[in-house]
Symmetry: C2
Subunit: 285 residues, 2 copies
């Protein structure tokens, strides 16, 4: 496994792999790798000949009051994980390397970026779309793997790839959960023991919602009210950003549950913001 | 020469050329090809093994009151020109093929898009940057040739390519002029004989500006006032959108002329809007 910090060096290694007729798989990450990332790497290893993982805590997707400075950066452990799971190249640029031209170009995926997390993190998806466009142009992968845990990110990136004709396939992989249901996230390590326990309520609320839909409930308000009750009981809860049931590709709010729906939650425990979601197929009426 | 209308077919032809180790050159156009376009094609033929010309009147770069509907589309003549000058593929998609996903993703090159023409054509450079991003992803060229006549477009696209790490080189080719100095443009054919005659005043004003700078004038207002006089004498002039002297890479207004400056004019004759520019190196003081 090679670790490269420079775009030019990365391009040369990838070019050489292409010349050997390798297909390129790509997993963009912000590091602090956990089993969720590992599942993406494994999917990528399975689906391509040559796997590139990027580790880059992208400043342009953090708001001014967010956790950019304290975001975990356990680079040595991350590299061990990548090596163990068959990654060919880790691309770990610094901020200057990625934004050497001083970035005034932005990729905006309108509409999709305004819902859900977009309302609470202005500029976030603009930062995500822009850095992914950059990384796709640098790596030129055949496939790129993203996690379903960041559902809106996956929808935004898929749409960007389609709209801008990026020649690659986005693969969205299932959310990986702890034994008690909590979706794995690099931010879970911020949680105190009490917060960690309380955070499972997000998962329980999603499970309750799934059951209600499968039992035939079609009014989203009935379901989100019940979910809100479940999450609100958590002692360390500081805010519920949203509990939403939306159409799974447009992210539009639904007035009646039908077809395939995305149920998404964002809630804060102490100062830590967590998100989770499930996709549920409503029973045919 | 092949003419293709579908993205998928184009990608396959380009992939085959790449497999034969050809470098790809690209000239994006809106058709109505003239000697200016031909100079871009010739530059591309010289600098690459396999040349793709796109002919696509991109609706997203036209304002609601602009000339999208009447923009000339002499496709048969355009194809003859391409064939004659050694083009390998003409890519001539329809609007549906280019915007099949209903385009909600936009590439914005902030700041650079706001000056000069950006003030008079809101959304224009967003449309240009977005369609070029799409075309670059579809064609994946090694080089792409643009004309200096559209100076701001060249600056915007160069910056987008740098900021988003597109793996290609932008080549900007000199403006081609008629014998009387008028910059060639597909829009010149809208002009009446009187307007056509009057339009040369843009060129004369640019030449006058060049002379003044070379003679040591450093106050841009002295120069633009003189230019305005020259252009204003045209009988068929309906508006001067701007006469500006700006820094040639940032497009910022200059308060004192020094270094390499871009002198740019946009003026309307009847309902036809024409632009032209020169880059002048100020003498060292």
């Amino acid at each position: 496994m090679k670790v490269v910090k420079k775009i030019k060096a990365l391009r040369e290694l990838i070019k050489a792999a292409r010349r050997r007729d390798k297909t390129i798989g790509f997993v963009p990450t912000m590091g602090a790798l956990h089993e969720g990332h590992i599942s993406l790497i494994e999917r990528c290893v399975k689906g391509s000949d040559f796997v590139v993982v990027s580790i880059f805590v992208n400043p342009t997707q953090f708001g001014p009051k967010e956790d950019l400075a304290k975001y975990p950066r356990p680079i040595r452990k991350d590299l061990q994980i990548c090596k163990k799971h068959g990654v060919d190249i880790v691309f770990a640029p610094d901020v200057k390397e990625m934004y050497q031209t001083g970035g005034i170009t932005w990729v905006n995926v309108d509409k999709l970026s305004e819902h859900l997390c977009g309302r609470f993190r202005p500029g976030h998806f603009r930062g995500v779309a822009t850095v992914c466009a950059k990384l796709f142009n640098i790596v030129a992968p055949n496939i790129a793997c993203f996690g379903q845990k960041d559902a809106q990110q996956a929808v935004v990136i898929k749409r960007m790839v389609a709209d801008l004709n990026f020649p690659l396939k986005i693969v969205v992989c299932p959310t990986v959960r702890a034994a008690d249901g909590l979706a794995l996230s690099s931010r879970n390590q911020y949680l105190s023991p009490q917060q960690r326990k309380d955070a499972t309520r997000i998962y329980h609320s999603l499970q309750a919602a799934r059951k209600m839909i499968k039992a035939g409930v079609t009014n989203p308000k009935t379901i989100t009210a019940q979910m809100r009750k479940i999450v609100s009981r958590a002692e360390s809860l500081t805010a519920i950003d949203y509990i939403s049931i939306v159409e799974d590709s447009t992210l539009q709010d639904l007035h009646r549950i039908t077809g395939s729906v995305l149920i998404a939650v964002a809630a804060r425990f102490g100062s830590t913001r967590l998100i989770d979601n499930v996709i549920v197929d409503a029973p045919k009426q």
